[in-house]
């Protein structure tokens, strides 16, 4: 259609030149688009898959054709990289990209259209022509594949431009996010359930697990406590606290909590852990005592 030399009096040519200039002076990380060297009305583009979607990290190439009546008539878009959302080498149905042909307006540009195209990637195709509705996993596989290289398409000149765009986009594109199988649930809640041991065996099991971590937690508590001026205490508080608690018995297991309230919320967990550990230790001691006394009781029972 258009030859090497352009008639700069042609308003479409003038406009397109301005868009090229604007595109180059305000580059975006989300897309890149340039006309072919020998045809101002034929562009190549690549868009970045939108964040927080199955397309994140992907690089999708496509082709833009600008009509001779541009910007009165809309540009047409087609994707070339398999993506699972739009068919490749098929003009993207303009209605679904919100650019109804009858409502296209000259105040829009290639940039506006590309931004809209990115925004439409994660939307539901609703059976629109030229749309695909692949599963997320399939799309994600295509996302990973899309990074390898630009698709093979068109003349060597076009391919060269696509390869350049690909390299440029790849240097800026974030990695494809790793899928985390499942989120780890909060551990403290399960621990609090262990607190009241039903029998001695369970209690012992808990103790053996808790013991190694206890000193560390105790030290941290001491550090924290020392920061509180009111509690300036030369003696190792961990030891004192354990004595006091052991004296008052299991009903007082909440005792250390008033101290923890002074601390920041993050430290609260440490105190809780320490309290749980201490309580379990005390409970074990009490159980041992109880075992002894019950042993005596058994003797008495035997005797009776």
């Amino acid at each position: 259609m258009a030859e090497d030399k352009y008639n700069m009096k042609n308003p479409a040519v003038k406009r397109i030149m301005q868009e090229v200039k604007e595109m180059q002076s305000n580059p975006s990380d989300d897309f890149m688009s340039l006309p072919l060297e020998d045809n101002l009305f034929e562009w190549q583009f690549a868009i970045r898959g939108p964040r927080d979607t199955e397309f994140e990290g992907g690089i999708y190439h496509g082709r833009i054709q600008l009509p001779a009546e541009y910007p009165f008539k809309p540009p047409s878009f087609m994707l070339l990289t398999p993506n699972g959302r739009f068919e490749t080498q098929t003009k993207i149905c303009l209605s679904i990209s919100n650019h109804h042909p009858e409502h296209w307006q000259p105040s829009w540009s290639v940039r506006t259209a590309l931004v809209a195209l990115i925004a439409f990637m994660p939307t539901n195709p609703n059976g629109a022509l030229g749309s695909l509705d692949y599963k997320k996993e399939e799309r994600r596989a295509l996302t990973i594949k899309s990074r390898q290289a630009a698709p093979k398409y068109g003349t060597p000149d076009r391919q060269k431009l696509m390869d350049e765009i690909h390299e440029n986009m790849l240097s800026k594109a974030p990695p494809v996010p790793q899928l985390t199988p499942s989120e780890s649930p909060e551990e403290p809640s399960s621990n609090s359930e262990i607190e009241p041991p039903a029998n001695s065996q369970d209690a012992e099991g808990v103790v053996t697990r808790e013991v190694p971590s206890n000193p560390e937690v105790g030290e941290r508590i001491i550090e924290e406590v020392q920061e509180v001026p009111d509690n300036a205490n030369p003696n190792p508080t961990g030891v004192r606290a354990s004595r006091e608690v052991s004296a008052s018995g299991p009903s007082d297991q909440l005792l250390p909590k008033p101290e923890t309230r002074v601390q920041k919320p993050a430290d609260d967990r440490l105190f809780t852990w320490a309290a749980v550990g201490l309580t379990i230790a005390i409970l074990v001691l009490l159980l041992k005592k109880f075992m002894k006394s019950s042993g005596h009781g058994a003797v008495f029972l035997d005797g009776s």
Binding site: P11, S95, P101, E102, Q105, P106
Partner: protein, 298 residues
Amino acid sequence: MQNQEGCGGGGGGATSCEFEDWGSFGDEAIIQQKSEISADEAQKIPFVADKEPISALAAEYQSGSPILLEKIKILGEQYAAIRRTRGDGNCFFRSFMFSYLEHILDSQDQAEVDRIKAKVEECRKTLQSLGYTDFTFEDFFALFLEQLDSVLQGSESSISHDELIIRSRDQSISDYVVMFFRFVTAGEIRKRSEFFEPFVMGLSNGTVEQFCKSAVEPMGEESDHVHITALSDALGVPIRVVYLDRSSCDTGGVSVNHHDFIPTTSDLPNSTSGSTQSIQPYITLLYRPGHYDILYPK
């Protein structure tokens, strides 16, 4: 026929594809069909036609409503001629364009040119403040200003009346000026969205911004009171619209109604506050339901 060419893209005949392909009647087909319709229209009438006597209008309604014929008779007493414009949805803007430039060409009113240029600058700032990208509208602004300079005589680029008609029929100029007015209109409506909101609500269900996106900025979208008011206000140009419809007074007398759109902006040199009578619009358009043409007073 052009219709067959466009429809038969898939290989089938005109009739078969018309009924089989409804499901895949995509944007391409719609665009194709629209351009065919406008091509058809273009064969009938240029963007801006030649001047015709009012009697030509009467001929159109030979066997029509007697009220209309009566009104055309009255029109004939006040107006000398009519200049039709193409019914492509841009007729209001196209009529305004030609009528305004013709007025400047005839009057050589340098003061008016200076005044409107200042207004155009304001419009440019309005669009910028609304977030429009410069390159999306500046070509249209530049082209209008170029026409404005051309109709003023005495410079190398000056044009004759014939040349103005040629340019008005040249799509690459005419459509650009129409689009310039669309930008100006959209900018004014959005700038004063609170004022225009109730009117826009009456025409569409959307917001002012949506209205501009769907009914002002796209080419071929027809104009209503809202557009005329906004354009008249934005450029400070009064517009008279004469209504030719079948309405008649209960009292029996037939009269032709008109409405003057007088810019609300106070900086019109000859406007005294409150009285709109003092302003004589130099742009007069004839409105028939769905279409605007240019009228020439006697």
